[in-house]
Assembly symmetry: C2
Homo-oligomer: 120 residues x 2
């Protein structure tokens, strides 16, 4: 499978796949051409990567998950290193949720205040 086909099957772009490779997430073989050659395992990997990115992980955070999968585990998050990253990210997300909740409440109360002024 060449890079274009993998990109399409993974719902992304060749540029993106080269970026993942540049950052050590995937290691495709090369044809005599120099063309990157991927197999179905890489497709699964890319799906995992994109899922983690969608959850807000950074590329560096994802490396332990990839290593875990490559070590033969059925899921990327069952290894200790991945779990540590998971916990860190969970704490981060909880923090963002708290912050956003505070902001939302402020916004709501300001909008409430306006409504009251309209019906004095």
């Amino acid at each position: 499978m060449l890079i274009g086909e993998l990109a399409e099957r993974a719902g992304t772009s060749p540029r993106t796949l080269r970026y993942y490779e540049e950052h050590g997430l995937i290691h495709p073989r090369r044809d005599a051409n120099g063309y990157r050659q991927y197999d179905d395992g890489e497709l699964r990997l890319v799906h995992e990567i994109r899922s983690l990115l969608a959850d807000g992980f950074g590329v560096d955070d994802i490396k332990p998950f990839v290593a875990c999968l490559r070590a033969g585990n059925s899921a990327g998050h069952v290894c200790p290193d991945s779990a540590a990253v998971l916990r860190r990210r969970l704490a981060e997300v909880d923090g963002y949720l708290d912050q956003l909740t505070v902001v939302r409440d402020r916004l709501r109360s300001q909008l409430e205040e306006i409504k009251c002024q309209m019906n004095p």
Copy 2:
């Protein structure tokens, strides 16, 4: 009041104040020197700006609030334009909260899964 003093009183930096000015949020007078000259009204304005920024508004979003204050209103959010921005931002924040909640639940369930494997 010169820019350094205002910056310190507002808890920020001269660079930041020049940035606000560059984007049309404040309009200080100039001394014969060319030095920016601020009064206490600008200090209040800067506090308002920084509060809005902390709530996730962009510089452009803030303009209506500043205009509202300059129009003599006691608060920046009581004008129709500001209210519209408030509603837009509230919807945005609600969206982020939904997304983050989904992510948090996924992270939690993955961590749960690991705990279960440790006590089989």
